[in-house]
């Protein structure tokens, strides 16, 4: 399940990163930090969260958004929210 989440998440993140500067296949890794490593604008993170909510039909509260750092932390959060459903 985690693998499926990772692939779907990668498809979402790809829309927000600058492909000229970031190699999608090399740098979207579990340890990659979504802002520091992937160069996402902090406002892009908000849009990315909305896409994640729509894709997985979950709700992520604003306080939790502020705690997200690595790709793995986002995958864990999605898994947790899916289990709560």
């Amino acid at each position: 399940m985690s693998h499926d989440i990772k692939d779907r998440l990668k498809s979402i993140i790809e829309n927000y990163i600058d492909e000229d500067e970031i190699d999608v296949n090399q740098e979207i890794l579990p340890d990659s930090h979504i802002i520091e490593d992937l160069g996402l604008d902090s406002f892009y993170v908000i849009d990315m969260i909305i896409d994640i909510e729509n894709e997985f039909e979950i709700t992520i509260d604003n306080d939790t958004i502020m705690t997200l750092g690595t790709i793995q932390s986002v995958i864990d959060l999605i898994s947790e929210k899916l289990q709560e459903k």
Binding site: N15, Y16, I17, D18, E19, D20, L40, D41, F43, Y44, I46, D47, I50, N62
Partner: protein, 426 residues
Amino acid sequence: MSKRVVITGLGVISPNGSGLVEFEEAIRNGKSGITYDQTMIELNSSCHITGRPTFDEDKLRQLLPSGLYSKLENRAIKFACLAGAEAWKDAGLDFTPNNENPDWDSGMIFGVGALAMGEFIRDKINLGYERGPRKIGSRMVEQTMNSGAMTYLNKIIGLGNLVASNSNACSTGTEAAILGYERILAGKAKRMLCGSTESEGWIIWGAFDGMRILCSKFNDAPEKGSRPMAADAAGLVPGAGAGAYVLEDLDSALERGARIYGEIVAGQVTNGGLRNGGSITAANSDATERAIKKSLDEANIDGDDIDLICGHLTSTIGDPREIATWKRALNRTKENFPTINTLKSMTGHCLGASGSIEMVATVLQLHKQFIHPNINIETLHPEIVSLIGTEPVTDRLIERDITYVIKANLAFGDSNSCLIFKKWNE
């Protein structure tokens, strides 16, 4: 010695052609960009015909970082990015690399009519209303603020002087040029990228339909609908798009060997104060006349020196009145009135983008020494015939020497802007 301002770059997204090459061919051949509009038909608008520009989406994708591009939904911003970037490249200038300082000597005035009234806004409003503002996402502000178009465009180009957006209805585009021209004359910038863009679709056009001023009598013949100066002109046909131009200090242009399209020798704005016949929607003719006369004074020429008038002329009952104003202001007679044309017969009225798209057409005509036809005039309006005869209103392409062209736009809010361009001689 006082500064001089020349035009060194042009760019355009127009209903009848996007990009300079396509656009020039279109205006030479009298090609209409007006088509049936399925959305307007389905919504039971009185006007079923509009001017929607087409463009290569891949070109835009290459200009913007993917993160910014992926959520860009406002087509008016897309028009601005494409036209503005084309003008900058056309001037032989490069975009500032991401890791360098902005170009401190160059600025931008890129105006908008009603940036938040594009069709994309409906889904955003519905989403917010039905599921809460949080679901709107982070990009609605930057795509609806009046400075949104210039912001996206400057992400591409990287200018560091004054970068701002003006808004003055149908005068927006030509007013932007005048503001840029004045900044260069004042010695505050070497170059100004100026222009304007306008929203597209049933929301903004529907608002004009609500005013009962759109054309409804040519729904079965889209290309015939926009007919400024015709006896049977029956209201404006709405359109959208963007026009852009690089204005440059002459010394700077000469120093870098830039191609020069022409010189701006005057730029004047007036407002009728919504007095003496002027209102929110109608021009105080005295104010329009004043803008034209002051432009002649600034250029230090007489009305007799004007070879071509590129009018505002909207395909409404205001056209004969505008011609009368030109005649008075230029002090020309019926026998020696100069040639007059208007792009709107081919593009419809592109509202906040009309001035800039028309200014691109004006400068192209001056540079290439031709006069584009007015289309759709089977019978000239009788009041216009009595004012200037039929000779000045051409329905065919004319190639001849042009030294001075005058261009004006009249706007809701009783604002007027007028520019005079002079042929550039090496």
